[in-house]
Symmetry: C2
Subunit: 124 residues, 2 copies
């Protein structure tokens, strides 16, 4: 099944990917349609095997569902590069919110915007 090829790409990627990036990658090995990629990704998300995060650019990024995986990004507004960070312990905050508001938090997304060191350097 083509699902396996698609899932493999995600499993082997160190960072999150767009549907199109996955499509391009898988296409190098097998013949596949973009809508199949989207359909498969939705299946994987439904089965909690893959995490989908919509970023400020309105494009969905997919990555392996894994508690260890950071879903926190530093996004450079100059070069559009995305860097992930694990430097934020939001679980503490999530627990506090649950305790004080009764809202049962199951997931979260965090995006920092700014200029990356590389672009800061190049600006000079």
């Amino acid at each position: 099944m083509k699902k396996d090829f698609i899932f493999d790409v995600i499993k082997n990627s160190p960072n999150s990917l767009t549907a199109e990036e996955i499509y391009n990658d898988v296409s190098q090995n097998i013949d596949v349609n973009l809508s199949t990629v989207y359909r498969t990704l939705n299946n994987l998300v439904d089965k909690n095997l893959v995490t989908k995060v919509v970023r400020q650019d309105k494009i969905a990024y997919y990555e392996l569902a894994n508690e260890e995986n950071p879903k926190h990004y530093l996004i450079c507004d100059k070069c559009s590069g995305a860097f992930s960070t694990e430097m934020c312990n939001l679980d503490k905050i999530a627990r506090k919110i649950k305790r004080e508001t009764g809202f049962n938090i199951t997931s979260h997304t965090l995006e920092f915007h700014g200029i990356c060191p590389e672009c800061i350097k190049n600006a000079k």
Copy 2:
């Protein structure tokens, strides 16, 4: 100018609004086109008077640009209600990231997903 009507709606709203919500609101008072609303909103964002945040539903939400304004939301996956929270001091984390990575953070967005107390109650 219609810009003033649009800006007023944002100024007077306690929470962030979609372009369509703003359009509906403004339409009650004056005759306006949806594309004018979008165009005006982009202007306001460019002038840093309004903040635009794209949420996981891929819809842009607009609110008054204001350091005091929380850009952190609790979003209920059942009723789709959005509640804002100020319970997270991310500035501390932002400073830490800047210090340790050199990434110059200018803004951030945070979205918690889960089930709100109301929906938890109704589920029983």
